[in-house]
Amino acid sequence: MTAAPTPGSREVLGPQEISRALIRIAHEVLERNAGAENLAVLGIPTRGLPLARRLAAVIADVEGVDAQALVGELDVTMYRDDLRRHPTRTIGATTLPAGGVDDRVVVLVDDVLFSGRTIRAAMDALADLGRPSAVQLAVLVDRGHRELPIRADYVGKNLPTSRTEKVAVRLVEVDGVDSVRIENEEGDR
Amino acid sequence: MRHLLRGVAPLGGAPTDLLLADGVIVALGADAAREAGDATVVDGGGLVALPGLVDLHTHLREPGREDAETVETGSRAAALGGYTAVHAMANTSPVADTAGVVEQVLRLGQDAGWVDVFPVGAVSVGLRGEQLAELGAMAQSAARVRVFSDDGMCVHDPVLMRRALEYVKAFDGVVAQHAQEPRLTAGAQMHEGVVSAEVGLAGWPAVAEEAIIARDVLLAQHVESRLHVLHLSTAGSVEIVRWAKARGIAVTAEATPHHLSLTDDLARTYDPLYKVNPPLRTAEDVEAVRAGLADGTIDVVGTDHAPHTREDKDCEWAAAAFGMTGLETALGIVSTTMVATGRMTWADVARVMSHTPARIGRVDSGPRAQGRPLEIGEPANVTLVDPAARWTVDPAAQASTSRNTPYGGMELTGRVVATFLRGRPTVLDGVLVAEGVA
């Protein structure tokens, strides 16, 4: 199913730009960590997970390692600080790469970095799962407006937005199309 | 005190005028208006006139549970419900098993003055089902007791029941049986069937009622006495009574408004308002009870008005008391379920809610007779009903001390507008009238 773009929205990243951004991030990760040894790439559901898989695939390709051994998913639902403000959320799966996260460099992957609250929850979740040697953060889009002292290590695109705007990330694995659009609240139906 | 009831329809027949004077119906039709003189005129256009209703089955709770009801408040409720007489059941505290207690209740009724209160005497001492109470003393007391019942408890010992049936023949009494086999109903909470299986409340099987009724009609036949079956609730019970009557056994039977209108499905709410004994039964049973009432197998509608305090109902089902109030809704329920549906006429209503109950209770003769026809020379006990009025039951507006009506919020057709007790209006325009006001 392909989601129709909302009228009044504009595309800021297309399939090529997304792909290029991930390749660049992959190289930055490898450069900074001197290779893929000891690396774990954890996607935050929903759309962080396919991004993590793609990132791991590029890294594996470059380094000649098994992508499956790198990647995992980290559900942060039970660590969120806003559960009471929303209808009950469905808990997603948490799957770590074989060997867990102890003493590994964990790269958390999410689609959009906004308030920083999801990443805060992710770090708490991670702490309950083990003790990584370092935790880094990769995001496809950083749209600003942080509410916590959190900064991404790897950013696909910095996107200045107003708070009333909405950043809509669509990925083939979930939405049938790769795109990042900025939507006006008024443009929403 | 004179009242001219103008344009009322006796038993739903042709409209006419009724003149009530000095406690008696003194004139009918054109004569009534001619002789009215300074009589207070009650505009009865569109209203049905019934003989004052008589309840054979009321719990007034006094003495003992004045927190749930008193003779005063219960008889106010009765008047509002169109009643001019009620029989007060014996399961008070102390139990009405002596001449002293029945005379006390009689006096409380006279002091209240809203309706005639006829005490029912207990069959056994303390309702314990072991030893006959002093039935003769109660019969000869000022209360002139003719109806004897352990209601609330079943006279389950067949020998005791036989003796009671025999003994009351000496003064033309009747034993009114609460038919409930105790061993089959130990701990029972509701009708045993599909709903009880689902909601996990201990079952009260139909057979526990039917087995006692079957036994008792045979005992009544054997000793040639009168038996009255209280609050018959199952299709099987209707069949047994029908069979007994066909055999000429002197049995009469009662249905309550709730067994004519409500089913065991209501237990799914776990709201103890619907907890009653015998329990609400299935839709098939309700239909059989209605059919039995319509065809005369069931002789009377008795309210089984059973007031309970809030704390006895505002709790979990198993801890709650059995019973529901009924005096103020009985006519409305009978009207809605039986008259509005075309199954009974207003003459039938007069039969099952006035004439027959008075005859069974032996209160239908003498100067203070109840349940008499609306004829010249008869005591002026008259109930006026608006057959078309649609009204919504408001528990908080009831005169009973207790609020445990299962009909709150329900819309009924047919409402009591006025009640006259021996010519004195106790209710006018649906409102109580204190003595000496009108």
Binding site: M78, P87, T94 | -
Partner: protein, 334 residues
């Protein structure tokens, strides 16, 4: 989900969601750090009018693992046993700001009254009421069945996403007095399983013929039909014949003697051997060894009885999560 009073509150999808959520909860319980911050600041009251240490500690563990504050309120034996006390207790809990009340009560429908009488805003979770319902027991049973019998088919150790279609479960014993049987008949059939109740006729409630299950009086026949799971219910010795309780001369029992019951309806080694290879043996506990189940059967590798207890914590965590984590006015996310 505002309350969990009966398995009838759950349709197929809601039941699968509880089981899937329980699967995630179960995974967290294998970790070194078992405690989650999810219900921090929420207060769960365990209100037990009837003794049940096992159920209470299971709920207590579940609530604590989710970081809720737990208050245990044992009302048994105190003056809190009848009348308006349930209401007063509810008003007390309301005043204390309870977010959820886990209630065990000997009266069927008491949780229903707590939830619906307007005494209390908290979520009410039925932990067993009279002979009515025990929904978390049925959920943990369904979870255990799904894990063992559907997990391999769907390629997930917990069978996440699957229901119980195609499975046949026999429930054996005192159905009449059993809230476990009532809950399981409802839930297992909602999840697509076929259920056969096996009991002497005296222990089958009148009206059960309308339940969505089959009823048999013969255990051996049912075992020969190859059920996938056999659930043995606890039979209380006091239900048998003989002298009645204090004062009563005699009480007609539901079965003639424990020996006869065991002979007709007990699961022993001989009967265990008649079951299909893959079939599992369940019991809600506590067991009467030698009455409804022999030691051979209870301790056999097919018995998943201890696992049921462990799964109980995960299932109760899931239910507490679904009742309490979100905004209760906004329901559950699709």
């Amino acid at each position: 989900m505002r309350h969990l009073l009966s398995v009838a509150d759950l349709d197929r999808d809601a039941a699968v969601l509880v089981l899937d959520t329980a699967a995630e909860m179960a995974k967290t319980q294998g970790r070194e750090i078992k405690k989650l911050p999810t219900l921090r600041g929420r207060t769960v009251v365990n209100l037990f009018f009837e003794d049940s240490t096992r159920t209470r500690i299971s709920f207590e563990a579940a609530a604590k693992r989710l970081s809720a504050d737990v208050i245990n309120f044992s009302a048994k034996g105190s003056s809190v046993s009848k009348g308006e006390s349930l209401k007063d207790t509810a008003l007390t809990l309301q005043a204390m700001g309870a977010d959820a009340v886990v209630v065990r009560h000997q009266a069927s429908g008491a949780p229903h009254r707590l939830a619906n009488a307007g005494w209390l805003d908290a979520a009410v979770l039925n932990a067993g009421d009279g002979t009515h319902q025990h929904p978390t027991q049925a959920l943990l049973d369904a979870f255990t069945i799904r894990r063992h019998l559907r997990g391999p088919d769907v390629g997930d150790p917990d069978g996440v996403g699957a229901d119980l279609s195609g499975l046949h479960v026999a429930i054996v014993g005192d159905v009449l007095h059993s809230r476990v049987a009532r809950s399981n008949v409802g839930l297992l059939t909602t999840l697509g399983a076929r259920v056969t109740l096996v009991a002497p006729p005296t222990l089958v409630p009148i009206g059960a013929d309308r339940w969505p299950c089959e009823i048999s009086y013969h255990l051996d026949e049912v075992l020969d039909s190859g059920p996938d799971a056999v659930m043995m219910l606890r039979v209380q010795r006091e239900r048998m014949g003989g002298p009645g309780l204090a004062g009563a001369a005699t009480s007609a029992g539901f079965f003639p003697s424990p020996l006869e019951y065991t002979r007709q309806y007990g699961l022993d080694a001989r009967r265990l051997a008649r079951l299909p290879e893959h079939a599992i043996v369940m019991h809600p506990g506590p067991m009467n060894r030698g009455l409804e189940i022999s030691a051979d059967a209870a301790d056999s590798p097919r018995a998943v009885i201890v696992e049921q207890v462990a799964n109980g914590v995960a299932v109760r965590m899931a239910v507490l999560y679904l009742l309490l984590a979100g905004d209760r006015e906004k329901g559950t996310e699709a």
